[in-house]
């Protein structure tokens, strides 16, 4: 008999305390990265060393949760072994899956550790079933994480064309560009998600008080300028204000967060397998709060999809921790495009 369908809540763990909080608050899966450029949240003070990773897997497994390793940057030829060692370590630690973007690494993982489950990272930029089926056919991937650029109708169409499980971003930071297809950060700073696991890295950020207002710069490039009464935001370069033909505005995207909670019944209907929460760079307190709210929402929706509605209290809770205090359905809602 096939196992009963279940939507898994997949939560971020930037540290062992965050992992524990996620598991304790009802995460079905947690995902984490090692402390280097093998993953797309390569930030100082974040991520796991070997001992912490082992302890994390043990803790999660004891409580019935799965652990995924994010290994989702593209290795350059120099340092290739750092990535393959991470795969070996994931296998040794008994991780439940590794999340990969690089086809060369998938081939290594498949040949060396055939028992390891492979997930296609959002950094793999697979936005159609032909692409997903490519990774399935050649490397046997079990699950694909979709870039945050498809409308819900497109997701549904895609789901019908592939046997691979799908995981969607449900909440957190919103990339306006196709993940894996954006080099804006390296154009300005030399470091990008693909090659270094970072976007708009903190070491390139400068804040400066000037007569025109508070300025945020990324490697010298003015990303935004704030009047005294305006809320400031981290200068992720696609979320700055720029001038096009005399108009100054958020030319690419406002500082806002993705929140797809109202789509939950639809996600269940098309049997999406994973609901991913973004934010390995966020605090354990954030992870705990977001996990708790989403656990409750998913449980209620699973019980009664037809009668599901988003509770105002959930929205308030999530609003407290969101970037820019604003929520959007992003590309899932077509007019966003």
């Amino acid at each position: 008999m096939p196992p009963e369908y279940k939507l898994e809540l997949v939560c971020p763990a930037g540290s062992l305390p965050a992992l524990k909080v996620a598991v304790d608050n009802g995460a079905d899966c947690v995902y984490l990265g090692f402390r280097d450029d093998t993953n797309a949240r390569n930030f100082t003070g974040l991520n796991f060393d070997a001992a912490n990773a082992r302890a994390g897997v043990e803790y999660a497994h004891e409580k019935g949760a799965k652990v995924f390793l994010a290994l989702n940057t593209y290795p350059k030829s120099h340092g290739w072994e750092r990535w393959t060692k991470a795969i070996d370590q994931a296998a040794d630690n008994g991780m439940d899956a590794i999340i990969l973007a690089d086809p060369g690494l998938m081939q290594y993982a498949m040949r060396t550790h055939p028992q390891l489950h492979l997930h296609l990272s959002v950094q793999g930029s697979a936005t159609n079933y032909e692409a997903i089926n490519f990774y399935h056919e050649y490397f046997g991937i079990r699950r694909a994480v979709l870039p945050r650029v498809l409308s819900f109708a497109q997701v549904e169409e895609l789901a019908a064309g592939t046997p691979v499980e799908l995981e969607l971003f449900g909440f957190g930071g919103l990339c306006v560009m196709v993940e894996g297809r954006c080099s804006l950060s390296s154009y300005v700073t030399g470091e990008s998600p693909n090659n270094c696991g970072v976007c708009s890295p903190p070491k390139a950020v400068r804040w400066q008080k000037t007569a025109q207002g508070l300025e945020s710069r990324l490697n010298g490039v003015l990303i935004d300028r704030y009047a005294d009464d305006e809320n400031t935001g981290y200068p992720t370069l696609c979320k700055g204000r720029f001038e096009v033909e005399g108009e100054t505005y958020y030319a690419m995207e406002e500082p806002t967060s993705l929140n797809t909670m109202e789509l939950l019944p639809e996600l269940l209907r098309i049997k999406v397998r994973g609901l991913k929460i973004e934010g390995r760079q966020r605090s354990p307190a954030y992870v705990g709060q977001v996990t708790r709210v989403w656990r409750e929402a998913i449980d209620q929706c699973m019980k009664n999809p037809g009668g599901f509605s988003v509770k105002p209290a959930w929205t308030v809770e999530l609003g407290k921790v969101s970037e820019g205090q604003q929520h959007t359905l992003g590309a899932y809602h077509r007019p966003w495009k």
Binding site: S77, W80, T127, E130, M177, V178, G190, F242, A331
Partner: protein, 303 residues
């Protein structure tokens, strides 16, 4: 060393396209990539129209390659992809793994710059699937390329994006429609008014990026002409020039003259200044932020 002309990244009128390719037929370029790679809504040119231009260019002695869409989101995008992949006359440049899936094992193909080939293992894999040439990711440096060159499979050619506004990012959102306060589904195809895109400046007036529908480009012109020696020494086979609204044939001639050593890159760079819409940059090739300009700073002022 061969020269290629990349696909036109902008939305041009049919008249402008026709004129452009008539001029290109007479220009000293070896390979021409054709097709819409940016936005599936752009519809002035259908596959039969592209094939007609392809035949004209082939008759003029050019090697023609059909490029596929970079962001494939819908069933109708996949339908267009299949039609291109199943054409029997011209090679295809795959810009998405879905395209690789359609082509692998069926016919030789070109692995486009958006496939994220960063290491020799992936390069070998792509070659084993039938790639005859691959285009390096734009953010890769000479140092990053060298190990791939040293171990590349026999017969596999390497192409480097060497001139033009860098295609830096793709989105499903249309930034041109956003500028006009229109939803993408009702974009009115206004990007046709911007044959070189729309410049996005910082709040202190510096040209930063260029909006081209769903694509975001660098405002500065990536130009590796001054790096010709290192490109040649690295065993690069093909230099790609990306079309701009005016003077593409002139840019091609300058590159050709340098390759054949009829002029020096220093002189050519100076002459190109007046036909480049913006200043030059070459940082990526030097392992630096892409927007930086290394060496030859005396010849081309960076802002």
């Amino acid at each position: 060393m061969k020269l290629s002309l990349g696909p036109i990244l902008y939305y041009w009128t049919q008249e402008k396209l026709q004129e452009f390719y008539v001029e290109i037929a007479a220009a000293p370029v070896d390979i021409v990539y054709l097709g819409e790679t940016v936005c599936s809504r752009r519809h002035i040119m259908r596959l039969p129209d592209w094939l007609e231009i392809a035949k004209m260019l082939a008759a003029a002695g050019k090697t023609v390659v059909l490029s596929t869409l970079t962001l494939i989101e819908s069933e109708s995008d996949l339908k267009s992809l299949r039609k291109i992949a199943e054409n029997s006359d011209f090679m295809v440049e795959a810009n998405d793994m879905g395209a690789v899936h359609r082509l692998a094992g069926r016919m030789p193909f070109i692995a486009g710059p958006y496939l994220n080939i960063y290491n020799q293992q992936t390069l070998q894999l792509i070659a084993s699937l039938g790639a005859k040439r691959w285009v390096m990711p734009v953010e890769m440096s000479l140092e990053g390329l060298q190990p791939l060159q040293q171990s590349r499979p026999a017969g596999l050619e390497t192409e480097v994006f060497s001139y033009g506004r860098l295609p830096l990012a793709f989105s499903s959102r249309c930034f041109t429609a956003r500028f006009h306060n229109l939803p993408k589904d009702d974009c009115r195809f206004l990007c046709i008014d911007d044959p070189d895109g729309k410049t996005m400046r910082t709040r202190e007036g510096k040209p930063f990026l260029v909006i081209n529908g769903t694509q975001t480009q660098s405002a500065l012109m990536y130009n590796l002409l001054g790096d010709l020696d290192t490109l040649r020494n690295a065993g690069v086979d093909v230099l790609r020039i990306s079309p701009q609204a005016e003077h593409s044939a002139e840019i091609i001639r300058q590159f050709r003259d340098c390759i054949e050593q009829r002029t020096s890159p220093e002189i050519a760079m100076q002459q190109m200044e007046s036909v480049m819409p913006e200043a030059a940059c070459n940082g990526y090739w030097h392992g630096r932020p892409g927007m930086e300009q290394m060496f030859l700073a005396s010849a081309v002022q960076h802002e």
